[in-house]
Each structure stands twice: as C-alpha cells, then as structure tokens.
Subunit: 612 residues, 2 copies
Amino acid sequence: MKFSQTFIPTLREAPADAVIVSHRLMFRAGMIRKFANGLFAYLPLGLRSFRKLEQIIREEMAAINSLELKPTVVVPGELWKESGRWDAMGDAMLRAKNRLGADLVISPTAEEAFTSLVRDELSSYRQLPLSLYQINSKYRDEIRPRYGVMRGREFVMKDAYSYHTGEASLDQTYQDMGRAYRRIFKRCGLTVIPVQADSGAMGGSGSEEFMVESEIGDNTLLLCKDCDYAANVEKAGCKPDFTAPPSIEAARAASSSTPAAEKIDTPEVKTIGELCAFLKTSARTFIKTLIYRAVNVELDLSAAPGCASLERRRPAPDAPLVYPEAFFAVVIRGDLDVNEAKLAAALKAGEVALAADGDVQRLSGAPVGFAGPLGLTGLPIIVDETVTAMNDAVTGALEKDLHYRHAAYGRDFEGWMLGDFRTVKAGDRCPRCGGELYEKKGNELGHIFKLGYKYTRSMNVSYLDENGKTQVPLMGSYGIGLDRTLASVIEEHHDEDGIIWPVSVAPYHAVIIPIKYAGAVKEAVDALAKELEGLGVEALIDDRDERPGVKFKDADLTGIPFRLVAADKNLAAGKVEIKRRGAGEPRLVGINGAAEELAAMVRAELAALDDS
Amino acid sequence: MKFSQTFIPTLREAPADAVIVSHRLMFRAGMIRKFANGLFAYLPLGLRSFRKLEQIIREEMAAINSLELKPTVVVPGELWKESGRWDAMGDAMLRAKNRLGADLVISPTAEEAFTSLVRDELSSYRQLPLSLYQINSKYRDEIRPRYGVMRGREFVMKDAYSYHTGEASLDQTYQDMGRAYRRIFKRCGLTVIPVQADSGAMGGSGSEEFMVESEIGDNTLLLCKDCDYAANVEKAGCKPDFTAPPSIEAARAASSSTPAAEKIDTPEVKTIGELCAFLKTSARTFIKTLIYRAVNVELDLSAAPGCASLERRRPAPDAPLVYPEAFFAVVIRGDLDVNEAKLAAALKAGEVALAADGDVQRLSGAPVGFAGPLGLTGLPIIVDETVTAMNDAVTGALEKDLHYRHAAYGRDFEGWMLGDFRTVKAGDRCPRCGGELYEKKGNELGHIFKLGYKYTRSMNVSYLDENGKTQVPLMGSYGIGLDRTLASVIEEHHDEDGIIWPVSVAPYHAVIIPIKYAGAVKEAVDALAKELEGLGVEALIDDRDERPGVKFKDADLTGIPFRLVAADKNLAAGKVEIKRRGAGEPRLVGINGAAEELAAMVRAELAALDDS
C-alpha cells in the first residue's frame, strides 16, 4: 500500500479533550476521529489494527470451541423485560420505540439475546455444553464518556455466553476462557493483571477481571508485594490482623476478666476521631456501628430480628422473591471501613448504602454517632470478623452523648450474621502469603464470570437430562472490550514520539521510506515492497512528496514496527537502512537480503508474543 | 470442523411466515434465527457464508482503491439536521434520545457521517478523489418487514462514498464501482440485471441499480427481448410510437387542414374508456390532462404561468430555494400513463401526486374528468412528447359534460415544458434497438449513483483548488445490501432438497460423511480432513451418531458444494464417493488422490466465478 493511496491524516497536535496518551496518539496518528462525545470513527490505519485484534480473538475463541454468531445490534425490549433488566439497567441503556410503538434496545450487552436463542433451540442435555460469542457493536450511554475509545459510548465487545448441565462443565469453560483471555492479551503485548472480582450482584460464584494498570483506571486493585495475589478492592481479603476466638463460647471466656460494660459520658463527641482524642486511645479499641439500607434483598430474612413482617415479593413472575427494602446494623473494628460490595454480596442485595439520618435515628433511638450493638433490637446485626476478637471495647450506647466501655463480643452482644466485611487497603497483609499489599488503579479490559441460573431461570430455559427430567442450564458470560484493549496497547507501548506497536496488532509490519520516490530509488522500493508482500510482510510505502523529516516523524508517530529507509547513496552501495521502532539505532543491510531478514524479524516477534 | 462441535440446528419444517425459498432454507439449514419481525441472528453456518461475502466485497473495494472505515452505528441527530434529512427520512429512521436529551440516529445510511468526517479533514484538491466505505449494521424501520433477511429491519450494508474535484473524476469512480459491483455479484454466482434507475430525487445525474429477478421484487423492470437494454420503470424510455413534428411551427403546419376545435356534448362521460365508447374511437386520439400537486420544487418557476406569486423559501440556511407547493397540468396521449418519477425528476420536486378533487375543480374550473389544455391558464402545462404529434384530438373542455374535438397541439395550445413523461410498459419498443420490451419484477441488491453537490453543499464541505479558490466537491454514493445478496444467491441456487451453494460463498467447501464415525472409517476420514485442510479446502465432518439418511438430507439442505462419503466397503477397496451438490451422480475416486482432486475442483469453480 502507498501512503498517498490511503487516508492517514496525521497531525502535530491533538485536541484539548485528549488527556491520555492513547487518545492523543490515536488522534494524531490518524487512527480515529470523533463524531460526538463517546462516538468515534476508525480511519483506515486504526481499522487495520482493530481487525488484527478481532482476528486474534477469533483464533483464540476457535481454539476453545466457542462459536461465533451475529445477532442484531437492535433487539426487542421484550427480552430485557423477561430478564428483569429493562428496569435494572436504568439510563445507561439506550432505548428507542419503533413506528408501531414497540420498545427496542440498542444492545449494551447480550445475555438476553443469546439466552433467548438458546432457549428456542435447546431440548436435550446432549446439546450441552454450548459456548457462543459475537464481536459486535454495543452502546452504553456513559454519563461522562472520555479518554477517547477507552471509555466511549459505542464500542465493540467480544461477548461470549456458555450453557451447561453442571458446575464441572461450567468451570471447564470458565477456565478455558480465562486461559484464552490470557493468551489474547499476551499476543497483543499487554501486561494484564487477572484479579478476583466481586460477582455478588450477578448472582454467580466465580469471577475474574483482566485489568491493566492505568492512572485513569476506575478500579482499585490490591496486589501483594511478595506473591501474585491480586484482587479488586470490592473483593480483596487480607490476612487477619487480630486473633479471633474459635467460637462464641471462647469469645465469652475471653471476656471473663473484662469489667462489666458501663455507660460513660461523651458530650459532643460523635466521630471515631473525636472519641479517640477524648478517651486518649486508638480507633482499634472501638466498635463502629453503621446502619445500612439494602434494596432487593434475596437472602431469606424470615428469622432475622425485626424482619418478620417485612414486605417480600417477586419483581417478575419467575424471578426469585426479594425484600424491596431492609435495614441492617454492621459492626466493625473502629479503624476499618465497611466494604459495601462484600456486604451486598453477602445479603444478595441489589444495592446497599448508608441509611438516611432519619432512619438511623428511628432504628437506633439516638442521633447519628451513637449507634452500638448493646441493646440494639429491631434489625439484624451483622458482625465483621474483626469484632469477634474485641473483648473490651468502646461503642455507642444508643443515647445522645453516651458510649459504653468494656463492651465484649459474645458476652454483651452477638450478631445475626458473621463474615468478612472490611475494606482491605494498602499496608494490609496478603491473605495468601502474608506479604504487604499495595494499591494500583486499574482499567478492566476483560471479565469472565459464572452467572449461575440468573438468566436461565428468569428466562425459562430448560432441557431434558439423561433421565428425561426437566433441568435448567447453568450459564457463564465472558467479555472483552476491543476498543479499550487497543488503546491500552498504546498506553503500554509508546514513547514521546508516538506509538510503538507490537507486531501482532500493528497496522502494517513495516514502513518503507524512500528519501525521494523517483528513479532508481522508486524502482528499488517497489521491488522491495513486492518481495515483502510475497513473504507475508505488510509494508506501507511512504511515497509522499514530503521532506524526509516529515516522513520520519510520521513513521515514529504511527508506530509501525519496522522502518526501512532507501536513500540514493546507500542504494548505490547495495544497502538499505533498517530500524525497529523504539529499539536501538538504524543499521545498514544488503538490499538483496533485506526482505528475508525483515520477514524473519516479524516472524520472530510474532512467535515471541504467541509462545504458550 | 466436526458437526458435533459446531451448532447447526437443521429442521425439517420452516415457520409459517417463511414464504420465500431463501427464508425457508436459511431457517431450515440452521443459518439464521429470528428475534422479532425483521431482526435475525446469523448462526455459525450462516455467518460463515456471510463472512465470505464480506471478504469478496473487501477484495473488490481494495482493487479500486476504496478505503475501509468503521464509523459508529449510532450517530448524532445533529448531522441529519444539517443535511435536512432529519425531517425527510420520516418514520423509517430509528431515533433515540440519550440521557442528556440529545437526539441520536441508528444509522439507516451514512452520507452524513462520511461527509462530516471528510469535511473536517479536507483542505486541498490534492486530497481528492477520496473513496471510502464501511461494512456495517444499518437499521430501517420497515413498515412490513418480511421474506427473512431479504427485507429485514436491521441489515448489513457495504456503503461507499466518494468525493471529487470534477465530473470526470466522479465518473471514473462511478464506473469503477459499477465494474466492482458486477464482479462482486459474479463471484457470488449471481445473475444481476444492471438497470438505469431514476435518481431525480437525489439531486444527481447518473444512477444504476443492480437487480435480481424476483417474484417478490418491489421494482418493475423493463427489458428488451433483442438487446441488453434494462431499466427501472421509473426511468425506462421507449422508442417513440408517434411521429412528432420537428418544431412548434411544423406542428402548426401539420394541423393546417384540421377543422377548428369545437365543443361537443359528452353527457355523463368522465373516463377515457367511456369517451372511447361514446365517440367510437381509440384512446390514442385523446389528450389526457392530469393535474398534479408537487411539493418542495427546486425548479425555478418565476416565469411559469400562475406561479409568479407562489411562496418560495429555504428549508435550511444553506439549502436551495424551494416552492413548498405548486400545481401542474400534464397532458399525455390518452392510452398512456404518466410516470410520476420522471415528472418529479423534471420538476426537481420532493414528491408529486395527483391533486385532490377540490384542487382540480379550482384550477380547471370543471369537475374531475373535463380538464384539457385549451384555454387552461393559472398553472403551467407540461406536455408529454406524444402530444406533439396530435393535430386532431379530443380533450376536456374545462366544463362539465363538454369536450373539444379537432384540438391540435401548436395551433390550439402550447406547453410550458416539453419532455418524456410516459410510463413505459411491456410491448413498448426498446429505445436502443426497437425490440419488444417485457417486464420483470426485481429486487435491488446494489445501487450506485452520482449525488452531485446535494450533501457537500448542505453540509458545507469545501477545499481549495489549484488556484487557491474555495470549491465544493462532487460526491457519489454506492451501496450493496449483504443480507439480501446472500438470500438472493439461495433464491438462484437451490432445488427441492435445499441450497446449492456456489463454492465462493459456501459455508464449507466440502462435507465428509462417514457412514459410521468409528474405527478405520474415522481414521480415514480424519486423515482426509487434515489433508484437505492443508490444501485450503474447508471440510465439515458429519461425525454425528445419526442414520446415513439424516446426514445425506442435511448435506443436501445445507447445500455444501462437495460431498464425500466414506463407507466401510468402499474404503476397503481404497475408494471414497464424491459428488457435486446439484450436479450428476456420485462417483468413486481413490482415497489417495481424493483430496487433491477435490481441491482442484474447488479451485476450478472459484476461478470460473472469478474470471474477468
């Protein structure tokens, strides 16, 4: 391909709204242009890289027997009503009405569409497992689209869905997908961090996110300095920094020498900080009590304190029963924060949030700041495991300006539920090896998870098992964002002059720069390009009538891995100059062997990216 | 690929709404499934053929230097307001509002999107010509989607747009596209009829449609029995079946011996048929006069009778001036019909339709049925060329129950505009060779046309020419519907048992049927498949545990071109059976040479489809 025959409008400057490197470079290199906020067009150079990424994904999906389908982008709203997500998706989902007034959805994801197809075709266990995917346009009405294609409104996702007769089969596909995702990212030259992720809200059990480190990442990751533990903060655990008694009886025994709990005056003291100062002690000796409001709770609360008469209903005919609203008191050691994602997962709640002041006052009988577990009735108490080690603590006394001291878990109060609800942070210890944890910001490129029965039940999917009995299949779902994967490659591979493509997703393998595209140079360059084509090397000839400096700058900017320079003098000596973008100095090679040598370098780099 | 590892849910029956062959067979062969009216998913088998069609199109676009882009499917409504089509597209365009209330369009076509991209990048004549395309999802809210993917709501279109400094350059790309389209359809094994098409409403001058014959086609084509003339009825011309005087003076001279026009009583006679019976003569001796209402007329009417005070305005700041409403009298020989597409094109009108009875009465001064050109003032008279030969005709007298006889063109009336406005029909004579024309119904698969300045002017695209002067580029637009192209291949290539794919767009080249996939047969079949793969032949092994009859039926249904049958007995004799779907009887070939022989047949068929 000749530069003059394609359309690569390179620019010296990027628009002001391009604040991250990949956005700036994709714009400047003529890879993308903007229609509107969050809506980008790929120009020929960008599309070439995009297609290579698509191809890598297709190869890896084929290798694990996932089958490609092409559903529509626009799907009936009816499907989303069946699953219950018509309401749950909110404003992020773009909707339209057709001329007959029927609801349509511009797909933000496709659990419903695939599940409806499978529902119509599935009859026997012999058809399972089934793993299906698409690579197709999606639309999510992001509130604040930014960072170019990293967080756009329309984007392309590879989304796969699998259906199974049992856990072992689901786990097999889940593991296969995980391996395929690792290979996909590796082949793109990306360093990803696979992290354990929360999946409570999805109703599943098993979820892994593939993150890249990014200053603008919207996820907080906790990583271990000593081992490969990595988790999303929503799910991260840590090694206990307390010694919990093994049982409630042991907890009671541990407080045998603690004086009886007594109320103390704490006038005008409301926060843990104020209390620490007032009592001249540390936050680790306080029991913090927070009242949470949870919505759409699936957990059975019929035996929980104060919940017997709570409203419970089915949002849709085949959906599980939920409590539209329920309140909980969470107690945790005073120096820690409650992790709302863990709490929501434990409660199987749609959402949890701190209760409003009025609710706190109603439920605790005191102003905000004086809640505590002693004597608290009327709502379930959820105990973070750190509290089980506390046998002489300070906590709110359910009265204004009063706290208890000498409060002891087991002796003075118990919980309705016990678990890990703390927010792990940098400095905590790795749950696996005890090493120090540190934080990173991450961007999610891929996500695999076990959905369980969530969609197959609500959408009435079934099959007959070996015994002719009707069963509901298990389901998994697996996504990769192509646009942000490509942008992330650039974030990881660039320098101050431009992109430095890994060969696998480079728009071209090589750019040939004739110092002047005429006469003997033209002849030599054309012959070289032809030879390269025969060897499977994609070369772009920069045939423009521009100064060499302009061509060199554009070659650096567009980041094409190998640069060949054909100048009069060198050619006369039978040589061309060859250079790997981003590595070392140019060197002269014989024109006769140049194509073969370059092809070997391309193959070697592809092989290095693909070894596994 | 093994049948058991893919997902090809074949069926003996098609749903009741599948009334055409391609819809029935695509459904039964497990190529597509339906989400809702007009919304279909391609399953793996269908997608394989679809991707081959995409690839053929990409190759042919590359061959004429058209560059692929990937704009978004969802685009800002703002672009459509700029071009003026936000209003013009009506209900066929699916619209949505995002969470901020901004208008969005689910692209039905992309003149606006491409033109806005080019507008932002174009500065110099040196960047032109530019030919760009996409292969992407489109949505049109068809009132009555039907015939499967032949007339769906969401579909995939290859749409290309070109920009030029002048007519010669536009014509070059237009001709290139026409050749590329012919090659694309030929490579798919399709017999297309390239026809001249109306392009008046698009503001262009030059348009060709690529039709396939189809009982359910929504276009009427006129074809010559003797030469290759073919035209859409909207544009079709014919050899004159009258001898028109060369000038208005000659027309007057021709009527020198005609008695003066005189009124005759024609009580209760309104239609041409009644008049023929009443006067015992033929419709060819009548001048039919029809009053038309035209909207958004671009033609300058300032000198036309009765039009001096008509309202004229610009629908958008940079749009051309139009008359929102204007009336015209069209006179034509009594045995002919007025072609409204030709009329609209001549008037540069957005739309023309017969005027309401009230308007006819107001403008002609008589009830419907008595309009005529003699004495008709107050609106422009448009004369079909057939009328210029009429020097002794009957026509309405602008009074109830009265007609004129002995009316003569030139002597008794003249027109404001003269042209060809007749609807050509079967039996008329070819304008090229005089042969008899016949009619066919056709479905449009592709359309190329010269748009002229329509979008580049309304959207303010400009560049500087060689002299530094600002110029507006000319534009062309070129589309192919992929889904209906694939369906049309099946319409042309099938028999009562199923599809008969041309090799070029077949999902697989060959299907291998082991009578039982076990033991020595399995070994032989696996080895054969591997050998075929090495030779570039895509083979599907039907490894299912089904009766041979089921496998044969599915092989016929899915239409895979070559069938290899491996049976115990034949294998023992070193033979396999080979058969071309839809042609001849199976024959035995040596297993050792079978792969090579098959590969040669595949190559030969591909070459035959691709010779040009």
